[in-house]
Symmetry: C2
Subunit: 148 residues, 2 copies
DNA sequence: CAATTTTATATCGTTCACGATGCAAAATTA
DNA sequence: TAATTTTGCATCGTGAACGATATAAAATTG
């Protein structure tokens, strides 16, 4: 009845989409107590690496557009994790900086990557093989990302 | 400043999340003319493979919960792709079936997987390596999916 | 310098994802 | 059979994604 190529089980994208959703789910027990979501955690990773960045830099690193990042940052400002001030040289820019609360959260979060790695290893039985996908995923992402 | 493990570039999940988003983006030029979204396309894949399924079966195949699938199906019913009738044996169930429009769309969609594959190969230069991730993604998904 | 284009950000509307909760029908248990 | 539990689906609220559009500031061009 169905064309072979139209079977769900033959879709790469469906797997990426599902794997991403399920992997984000593994973060829940660690992020919920901190009161943040996975995308918010990504913003914090970016800011912990370098504080005080304009929205466009954060968006570029997360490979999202500002129409996704702006509301995300607005929510984070409301929950007291960041501040958004006008740029001094370029007044179009909004410089995003960590509050004390945002900075302090780094200490609570520093074990998350290790916990995740352990959880995934435990659940899948073999994290080695999974981590080996990283270069290929990078190649895929690099090929598909918009040229600027 | 930042803990090494807290750098964005060391995150597997971020790559899955980004790869999934970008890959879904490649579907846009093919799905937009059909007036459907990627999750709606997945529902159609499921129904083309086997028509007349209860919501729970569709949800299980898509690895989503009914609170995501129900509104999705409601939108698809509104746009005339499917019908949702009460189950005869089990009246709790909603049996989802393709309309003529939903069935006819299969013909228009049958080249999409091939187009996608070509597009990805063209953009990344090497689709071989990417397709090789499938068994590993399946292992990851299988390990992370909820036990029922 | 004036006009035009680009850039940085924001807003709006629609569709998902998903936790929490509700409800009625079916299945199970006492 | 009556009481309880489970199952199938739906609703609600929140937070993303993202296309389309808007706006003001900067950069570029004429």
């Amino acid at each position: 009845m169905a064309y072979e190529q139209l079977k769900l089980e033959n879709q790469l994208c469906f797997r990426l989409y599902t794997a991403a959703r399920l992997t984000m789910g593994v973060y829940h027990p660690y992020l919920d107590p901190l009161g943040i979501t996975y995308p918010q955690y990504l913003v914090l990773l970016v800011l912990w690496e370098q504080d005080k960045q304009p929205v466009c830099d954060i968006a570029k690193k997360m490979m999202l557009d500002t129409n996704t990042v702006t509301p995300l940052l607005q929510r984070m400002e409301k929950s007291g994790l960041i501040n958004r001030t006008r740029g001094k040289e370029d007044s179009r820019q909004r410089i995003v900086s960590l509050t004390e609360k945002g900075k302090a959260m780094q200490e609570q979060a520093k074990h998350i990557p290790e916990c995740l790695s352990n959880d995934v290893a435990l659940k899948t039985g073999d994290a080695e093989e999974i981590v080996k996908m990283i270069p290929t995923l990078d190649k895929l992402i690099d090929g598909l990302k918009k040229v600027e």
